[in-house]
């Protein structure tokens, strides 16, 4: 049942994607068409920089159109509602939380703190959030936190040590 609902949601999501692809393809075509043709450098008209992007833009729009027609022709009763539920459901919230944590780590913590410290904080927050709060079977914070701290310290220090000191790779 859930599978069928997923298929119906996907059929409608395909329609939205098709519209995005058609517009994206046309924008790329326009940008390629108006791209400098380097006449002042006597570049052959058949070798202008915008040639392939122009073709690809048109191809993308065409494929988008076909995808849209396909999606339109599919029976997907209740597809929009299923799509709406998929976008606000618990799995979507879990994905949103991972993205938010990743952005906070990369855009805020890295640069502000040394990389090992930023990584330790990220790993700790990630484990506690998904083991204690955003889960169907929550673990007690007193049980999860010590593990999270231990893994954060070992992984944060270990990654820095292995990459920087053993393999001589620079870290952010």
């Amino acid at each position: 049942m859930e599978f069928e609902s997923g298929e119906r949601a996907r059929a409608r999501a395909d329609l939205l994607t098709a519209i995005v692809l058609i517009i994206l393809g046309l924008v790329i075509f326009y940008l390629s068409w108006t791209m400098p043709r380097l006449e002042e450098r006597h570049v052959h008209p058949a070798t202008i920089p915008g040639l392939l992007p122009m073709i690809l833009g048109l191809a993308l729009s065409f494929c988008g159109l076909l995808l849209g027609l396909r999606s339109w022709s599919l029976e997907a009763e209740g597809g929009w509602q299923a799509l709406g539920r998929a976008l606000v459901g618990r799995p979507a919230r879990r994905v949103g939380a991972v993205v938010a944590l990743a952005l906070f780590h990369t855009l805020v913590l890295v640069g502000w703190l040394p990389f090992w410290a930023a990584s330790m904080l990220f790993i700790f927050a990630f484990i506690v959030l998904f083991e204690v709060y955003m889960t169907d079977q929550p673990v007690d914070l007193k049980r999860s936190a010590p593990w999270a701290i231990a893994i954060a310290i070992v992984a944060g220090w270990g990654i820095s040590f292995i990459f920087e000191d053993i393999f001589l790779v620079r870290l952010p």
């Binding site: 400098p36 070798t47 920089p49 494929c63 879990r94 994905v95 952005l103 780590h105 870290l171 952010p172």
Partner: protein, 507 residues
Amino acid sequence: MFDGLALLAQGVGHFLTPASLFNVVWATLLGLVIGILPGLTATMGVALLVTLTYKMPPDQAILTLMCVYLGAIYGGSRTAILLNIPGTPANAAATLDGYPLARQGRAGLAMGLATTSSTLGTMVGIFFLAIIAPALADFAMEFGSYEFFWLALFGVLISGQMAGSDTPLKGYIAGILGLLVAMVGMEMLHAYQRFTFGVGALGGGIDLIPAMVGAFGFAEILTSMKRRTIAHVASVNDRVIPTFREIFQYWRTIIRSGVIGTFVGIIPGVGEDVGSWSSYAAAKRFSKKPEEFGKGSQEGLIAAETGDNAVVSAAMIPTLTLALPGSAAAAVLIAAMLIHGIRPGPMLMVENPIFLYQVVAMLLLATLANLVFGLSLTKLLIKVLAVPRERLMAVVYVLCVVGSFAITQRMFDVYVMLVFGVVGFILREMRFPMAPLVLGIVLGDLLDINLRRGLLLSDGDISPFFTRPISAVLFAITLLTIVMSMPVVSRRVTGVFRRLVLQDRTG
């Protein structure tokens, strides 16, 4: 012939040093662990490891990556057998018979069969790699811009068609998106910067490694964390090492699956999963006991695991001789080779002939290591499955950041990884395959430069693209690929063939 054997012996001898063997051991074990853990794929493992091998000598770096690649593809069969979840997409077909075998109390035997058939699959692939690659490289010397244009286009199209989505259209769209990504940055013919919108960091284009780490690493984390799944691991109480008879009574299946895997591996961008499914389907078709397939058939498991491992070796054929990646992981290997100053393509056999045989040696050592660890560390490797996903994925994300940053040491590449991760996740959720996208990124430059160079050589005339003999053949194959992907045409062609077969049988 003897030159080839001498070079092969030289290749193997080159790696029989303590340092190389040490790298084989740790990289294979790491690959096995990556493969066993659901959510970590071979491509992701190879992409993340490029960073770690950055400062190694080129031969050791590629050896390490190859061991991780092969180890991960093999390791995924463990999860397929014990958890009914493919460790990597390549092992999906192995779940069909592997898991039923485990439920019958024969998990050890299933793992032993998977291990042995993986080794045999790699061996078949290696055999064809050693034979076909030098000949293909020689033949590819005849290729000019027109031929490379069609090859690149064919690669993206066939990958799009066979990547396994609900419609080939999504594969084509993914391929076009990949090609468009490759259009960003300075083009090589007139040094003009396209689609940079004034962002200096985009001038050099979008690097493959951060894009791959995003599309296969971060996107995989998002997919894994979307739902919490609780899996039950089957217990292993029986013997692991299969008898000679248990394996070789299916020698026809092994050879057939090896050849199918090799053929799939040679086709650009068509990965291990297709090799595994095709071998499984063929084994079922020709089996004396097709009714056992899906219920714990040893033959089915052998076919699936021989097929996917043969792809790994065979994928090196187009990768090394034409610089067309035979699979998504092979695309990362091309990027790694370029980082280390090795230029795959037809000139490889002229500039660095020993390298091809070194790759053969790497595959040999990696598969032997898989065999030894696979048969001996059964219980220890299963313990890896006990690691909770929440704890693992947090660490994997940090590795994704390191992996995307370290090559060029720019935070911009980390942002690229994030964007590709989120976009890749959304595309996956909507059943857009990732392999054509990657192939598009890799082949974009090749397609662009050869299209425009060809047109320059012919003064704007497009006819050489269709009239030169090899070009004409490649064009016909490309056209056929597109036409056959149309449901109306493929239905009609299948119908005609079916009628012909029926007439043949009745008449």
